[in-house]
């Protein structure tokens, strides 16, 4: 804890544990809530990782019987739900919470208590989901955790096919965390629009702030229909409704629409913050200003808009008309244009720079390569006829893990190494960081490069076992081997965080020689962030300070 924090809260230097705990639980400070979000997410990352490992061990060879089909089905449901709603979303919100006020020169979020409420609603969602392990056994011993898949297609979620309470816990979990997500999104938008320091016009905001603004807008648009669908499902299950009850004239397809109008924008909710991290880290480690700032902003907004009109590419196989299929091919492919623009701008930022490969940059460079592949396999899947073959196969599983792990998680790791010194005042171990990077990099590629192949050879997802003689065996073995590397990489990452927090060398305020406002305050920042509200003249206020002879505002 920094001297500043203690001085402000006027507490003795050594406080009893219960008092410190009470402070964390009742906090409305955006930085503490950000850290709470992140710690919460890391806990669930371990749970989701264990679930993935169980699946991969089961699939290591054909006709394996390590776990029963029931357990396997619960594992993939829990893995997907956990990783999206209780790892990726809280990580994204955690970083946004921590960084946005600091980067716009504000003292807190616009609504600090809404902020705390939102976090605890999300936490409640996580508890609901995992409480199903003990509380979900319904009638006839019908399953302890949800087993309907993370997109929970109707009518599998109806009382007829899902007896007991596991599906109810799934629904309540998403409803609760959804309320938290919408609260945080409103807060981020209000903060960015109303709390910027003097001089910081919209056009002078760091790209990270822009990307989080669009992300928050998408959260409101995407999570609202999801929450509505959860309420409809609850009405079906408890009040005799028939929204998704196909036997009473309800529609299974309408659930798909509700889910994917959330589900696809959700991808951009997660990937825009990843772009945000890359857009801050790549310039600093290339020692150059971001290339094409206005175009980057426009591309972000374009991704936000187009991203709302592509959802039914998840439904190319449900029997839509040729016209509808054709429309969604075009809208989905259109996304590739602004995304491509972003990749080219990052490359142009690096062009002519002096690249330093510390851990944050290593992860971001790997992200560029991997996101390229993820984007291109995305284009192949956008072609509806290819999706008729590859949809719901392991090719799709490989593709979206390439996006979420190879794209999003890699930049999040980069963000950890980059902002850890700001949040703790300690440097992360560079040696452990590089070890983490290489192990995770090798594991990622073993697992997700080779996972494309069984999909092309006809292996559908969500099967607890498979027949020998389909040519899938060797690929599944390699995929499982990669998991071991990833697991060790994650353990080293966790160890790095703990060790560096306790033993790391002091970082100072600005260890990376960076240019955005957060590096001008102490590490960790005081509760009030800035003693005097800063005034900025350009997108890189610290560059202006460090180079008074050649400030940015001359060129913007």
């Amino acid at each position: 804890m920094s001297a500043n924090t203690i001085a402000i809260s006027e507490l003795p230097a050594s406080r009893p544990f219960t008092l410190r705990l009470h402070q964390w639980v009742t906090t409305v400070d955006h930085k503490r809530l950000g850290i709470l979000y992140i710690l919460f997410a890391l806990t669930f990352l371990i749970a989701g990782g264990i679930e993935a490992t169980i699946m991969r061990l089961q699939l290591v060879r054909p006709h394996n019987d390590l776990v029963s089909p029931e357990v396997f089905n619960r594992m993939f449901t829990m893995h997907g739900t956990t990783m999206i709603f209780f790892v990726a979303m809280p990580l994204v919100f955690g970083f946004a919470n921590y960084l946005v006020p600091l980067m716009i020169g504000a003292r807190d979020m616009a609504f600090p208590r809404l902020n705390a409420f939102s976090f605890w609603m999300s936490a409640l969602g996580g508890l609901f989901l995992y409480f199903s392990f003990v509380g979900g056994s319904g009638l006839y011993g019908a399953g302890s955790t949800p087993d309907v898949g993370w997109f929970a297609y109707a009518p599998l979620t109806s009382k007829t096919f899902s007896v007991g309470h596991s599906t109810d816990y799934w629904t309540l979990s998403l409803l609760s965390s959804g309320i938290g997500s919408i609260g945080t999104a409103i807060n981020i938008i209000a903060t960015i629009l109303c709390m910027r320091c003097p001089g910081m016009t919209l056009g002078k905001m760091p790209l990270l702030v822009w990307l989080n603004l669009v992300m928050a807008g998408l959260v409101i648009l995407a999570v609202s229909p999801l929450s509505a669908a959860q309420i409809m499902l609850l009405i079906d299950r408890y009040l005799g409704g028939h929204f998704f009850d196909t036997q009473a004239g309800g529609s299974a397809v309408i659930w798909m629409h509700f889910f994917w109008i959330f589900g696809h924008p959700e991808v951009y909710v997660l990937v825009l913050p990843a772009f945000a991290f890359a857009s801050e880290i790549i310039p600093v480690f290339s020692r150059k200003a971001i290339f094409g700032y206005p175009v980057m902003v426009l591309a972000t907004i374009a991704i936000g808009f187009i991203g709302m009109s592509v959802w039914a590419h998840h439904m190319f196989t449900v029997g839509m008309s040729a016209g509808a299929n054709t429309f969604f091919v075009l809208s989905t492919m259109a996304i590739a244009v602004p995304t491509g623009i972003k990749i080219f701008n990052w490359v142009a930022t690096m062009w002519g720079g002096k690249l330093r490969f510390d851990s944050p940059m290593l992860f971001c460079v790997a992200f560029l390569f991997q996101f390229l592949v993820a984007g291109l396999t995305g284009v192949t899947l956008a072609v509806a006829p290819l999706d008729w073959q590859l949809g719901n196969s392991y090719y799709v599983v490989a593709h979206f893990h390439y996006v979420i792990v190879g794209g999003i998680l890699f930049t999040i790791f980069g963000a950890f190494y980059y902002w850890f010194p700001k949040a703790t005042g300690k440097m992360c171990s560079e040696k452990l960081g590089k070890l983490h990077f290489w192990l995770f990099f090798i594991g990622f590629h073993l697992t997700f490069d080779f996972m494309h192949i069984p999909g092309i050879l006809g292996m559908p997802r969500r099967i607890y076992t498979y027949e020998p003689g389909r040519g899938w065996d060797i690929w599944n073995l390699i995929v499982t081997v990669g998991v071991a590397f990833q697991a060790v990489g994650i353990l080293i990452f966790a160890w790095n965080l703990i060790w560096s927090y306790l033993r790391g060398t002091a970082s100072g305020n600005d260890p990376w020689d960076a240019w955005t406002l957060e590096w001008s305050t102490s590490s960790p920042p005081p509760v009030y962030n800035y003693a005097a509200i800063p005034v900025v003249q350009s997108r890189r206020p610290l560059w202006d300070l460090k180079h008074p002879e050649d400030p940015d505002w001359r060129y913007e």
Binding site: P69, E70, N73, D147, G149, A154, P155, T160, F161, G250, S251, A252, S286, F291, G292, Y293, P294, T317, G319, S321, A322, T326, V329, M333, A336, V337, G340, I341, F344, N345, V347, A348, M350, G352, K354, L355, L372, V373, L376, V379, T380, V383, A384, P385, L386, D387, W388, Q389, G391, N392, I456, L457, G458, M459, P460, R462, I463, G471, D552, E556
Partner: protein, 315 residues
């Protein structure tokens, strides 16, 4: 060689997708090679050496010309891919109507397939038989896809892309296999506990062989003495779910058993149709397919043998 490889098509829809996929992959591969090379060049060329020169590199803020270039070129590529995709969508989703086409109604059940041939008055399960189609005299098969319970998806990669079977939402697809033989696939939409063992087997047969199969499926059992096994079968819960034509067994929940022995597998492809497997399936279905809807019948060994023997007469 994988029997379910999407790159070895044997029917027009799968063929058109294969052709399109080659075009798309060539484009995507070219983009990959170019951008990958560019990225690698930048990473290698501009890494800072050991000498720590404190001077910052030249700051460049952007360039309208290059931004326009890397916007317009991707737009053109996207348009080309889109037009190619639109053409295949139209050709696969609006198939030519043929007077000689065979119609089959496919119903997905947890966790097996029901096939009805309305024009031939045939009901069978799990193993679909269709006629070989040649280019000069096409005899395509049109499938109407229904579901009795949850969502399923019909996917035989070498014949066509997948189409979902959704309750209350009939779908259609078609195949015109131009190669005889057995084509494998499986359910591709998660449908519950035993989604994994809801396997698909499509037998493509030349006209004469297909005629023979049709003729056999249309046979009615000879009326004769009722065997001990048949008595057990008809006096237990078997008849609630299974049909054996022209007998009191008229259940619709499970597969039609009228011509069980004409099928190579049981339990939707999960086990070969042998005496031992059949007996095990009746005794303890969980040993073959845990979580299937077939209950353990709790018969004593004598009844078990009798029922197995009876089922083996259903040809």
């Amino acid at each position: 060689m994988s029997p379910t490889n999407i790159f070895t098509p044997a029917s027009t829809p799968a063929d058109s997708i294969f052709g399109l996929s080659i075009f798309v992959l060539l484009n995507v591969a070219a983009i990959f090679v170019i951008v990958f090379a560019l990225l690698t060049y930048v990473v290698v060329r501009f890494r800072s050496g050991r000498s720590e020169d404190p001077k910052e590199p030249v700051q460049v803020y952007g360039s309208t010309q290059v931004e326009v270039a890397w916007t317009v070129i991707p737009v053109l590529i996207v348009l080309a891919l889109f037009l190619a995709a639109a053409r295949v969508i139209a050709s696969v989703q609006a198939p030519p109507q043929r007077p000689g086409a065979l119609e089959v109604i496919v119903t997905g059940h947890q966790f097996w397939w029901e096939y009805r041939y309305p024009s031939l008055n045939i009901v069978t399960a799990n193993e679909l038989h269709v006629p070989l189609s040649d280019l000069r005299h096409p005899t395509p098969t049109f499938l109407t896809l229904l579901s009795a319970d949850t969502d399923h998806s019909f996917w035989v990669p070498r014949l066509a892309g997948k189409t979902d079977l959704i309750p209350n939402h009939p779908n259609h697809m078609w195949i015109d296999p131009h190669e005889p033989g057995l084509f494998l696939g499986q359910c591709a939409q998660y449908c519950g506990t035993q989604h994994a063992k809801m396997l698909l087997r499509v037998y493509v047969q030349p006209a004469d062989e297909f005629e023979k199969w049709v003729h056999q499926q249309q046979q009615r059992p000879q009326a004769g003495t009722v065997s001990a096994g048949q008595r057990v079968f008809e006096s237990t819960a078997c008849v609630n779910c299974h049909t054996v034509s022209d007998t009191p067994a008229k259940g619709r929940f499970g597969p039609d058993l009228s011509h069980l022995m004409s099928r190579a597998t049981i339990a939707s492809g999960a086990a070969p149709n042998t005496s031992q497997m059949l007996r095990l399936w009746i005794k303890n279905p969980d040993a073959i397919k845990p979580g299937s809807k077939m209950p353990a019948m709790g018969l004593n060994d004598q009844d078990l043998d009798a029922v197995t023997a009876y089922l083996e007469t259903l040809r």
